[in-house]
């Protein structure tokens, strides 16, 4: 089935059109974030900057005491303090669960897996009120550790799914021969499974990092003080404020997007594997 020249033209034309569609918002973000405040006007949105400047990034990060504008710097760090422990914990739990569900099936383990997976799809609104009450009762409401707890718990279904599917590909003979050599449940995990875990772990880490970094709902509900809010919540407040010029808003949005965007560009393959795992049957 050789291709006519016309069809080739059509294919590349369509590809370029699609690329333009997906790049337009990115273009607007980058171009306007690099503009001087004097160049910024709604009419000039599409124009390239005449003088490149990083001033709007500085302002988005530090804020502006003269107008009382809060910078995003602290919130960026809050997101880092949130993401690192939350990712480590939820990936660790997912790895253990995935190992058990893939290699030690017991009666009812299918039902258990179903009950775990359902937790991935629920609208979190249906658990938010009790979650807030519980966090208040144990003194974690309005704090980053409270937010970490929420992300670890509600991250269990997806990390378990990723690891279960990944470990299911490890041949049973490997764990069985380790058992014959006297390894128990923990021994098999430690000496057979963990050394083979790297690719699955990368997928789970990238997925959880992106999800938690980009989360807004838990952040806006659990953290009420600007000083502990993650960057998504702070960015939304910044963008909703009328005193903030929109080159600064664009710079703030780019700052908020940078970590996940970098990971995506550098390790996109693993990101897409996580994406496919989320549809249950990858």
């Amino acid at each position: 089935m050789r291709r006519s020249r016309l069809l080739t033209l059509f294919i590349y034309g369509s590809l370029l059109l699609l690329a333009v569609f997906y790049l337009i918002p990115i273009y607007v973000l980058v171009v306007n974030a690099l503009k001087d405040y004097r160049e910024v006007s709604v009419e000039a949105m599409w124009r390239l900057p005449q003088n490149l400047t990083l001033a709007s990034f500085a302002k988005a990060w530090n804020g502006d005491p003269t107008t009382g504008m809060q910078g995003l710097g602290q919130n960026f760090l809050n997101s880092v303090y949130l993401v690192v422990p939350a990712v480590i914990l939820s990936v660790f739990l997912g790895s253990i669960n995935g190992y058990v569900l893939a290699h030690w099936r017991f009666r009812g383990s299918e039902v258990l897996f179903f009950l775990l997976l359902f937790g991935m799809f629920i609208p979190y609104q249906s658990v938010l009120i009790p979650l807030v009450k519980l966090l208040m009762a144990i003194g974690l409401y309005g704090s980053i550790p409270g937010l970490i707890l929420a992300h670890v718990v509600y991250g269990i279904p997806i990390t378990t799914l990723i690891f279960r599917n990944y470990y299911a590909q490890i041949p049973r003979e490997l764990s069985e021969s380790a058992q014959i050599d006297g390894a128990g449940v923990l021994g098999v995990y430690r000496y057979v499974i963990v050394p083979l875990s790297a690719p699955g772990t990368v997928v789970a880490v990238i997925w959880q990092f992106t999800q938690i970094w980009n989360d807004f709902l838990f952040g806006v509900v659990i953290t009420n003080k600007p000083s502990v809010q993650p960057i998504t919540v702070a960015l939304n407040n910044l963008a909703g404020s009328f005193i903030v010029e929109w080159n600064v808003q664009m710079a703030g949005a780019l700052l908020a997007a940078l970590p996940t965007l970098l990971i995506y560009i550098l390790m996109g393959r693993y990101f897409i594997r996580g994406l496919l795992a989320g549809s249950v049957k990858g």
Binding site: I24, M45, S126, T210, V221, L275
Partner: protein, 293 residues
Amino acid sequence: MRRYRLVAFALIAPSVLLIIVFVYGFIGWTTWLSLTNQNDIIVPQVRFVGLENYIRLFHNLRFLIDLKNTLIFALLFIPGSLVLGLAGALLLNSGIRYEGVFRTIFLMPMALSFIVTGVVWRWLMNPSSGLNLMFDALGLGFLKNGWYTDPSIGIKAIALAAVWQLSGYTMALYLAGLRAIPKELYEAAQVDGASQWQFFRFVTFPLLTPVTLSAVIVLGHISLKIFDLVVAVAGISGGPAFSSDVPALYMFVTTFQANRFAQGGAISIILLMMVSFLVIPYLSWSLRREATE
């Protein structure tokens, strides 16, 4: 052997316990709450009121608008993402040059948060800037409109931003589906003298049906849960005349700003029931399908 199983179960017990409490226990708690009169911070006497909070919702104009908006959103967002995703996947899979570059661009929005997307699209759909300016410059002035600031458009503008953000998801699904089609099928069709269209119509398309089903379920449940994007584009008020409002946003405002906990709980339980209706059959189907393989 039995001792092994015991150890194995002990290993997942903490996670199982957390999920039982934080998912199922909390859903039970919210359900109970939604059946009481706790519609203030301090309620002197907590009373069971049956379905009162639910009945009130179905007489509430804002909630009815929200349901209609959810439907409109789903009807634009799901087909939009399917068509764009399938088209992109077919193009990427047609043996082109620079496939990696195009794929990276097409799926890039997936790495961004709804808030970042919302902040940009709010400006792109600003009536006196963004896309309207571009339409003017391209001589397409008739396409200019008020986007999310126009009450007759509202949620449709949000759906556009959502298609931009999530069509990459369906594209990735379709691309994986296309790659899984064995090369032999293609060669056999060539021997039989099938045209490219016939191959697509009778081989590719039927093989992609399970992918389409997965995508519809996932996109459908996102349509029910959409929240961040509406907040970032139209704001917490849900736009003029609630034209961009959705149940998840109404739940948030009712619960955490108006302190009407029972009412907010009722909205969230309705949302949960709609999601379950979609997801439970799908989950049991895909787990059963996996077990028979």
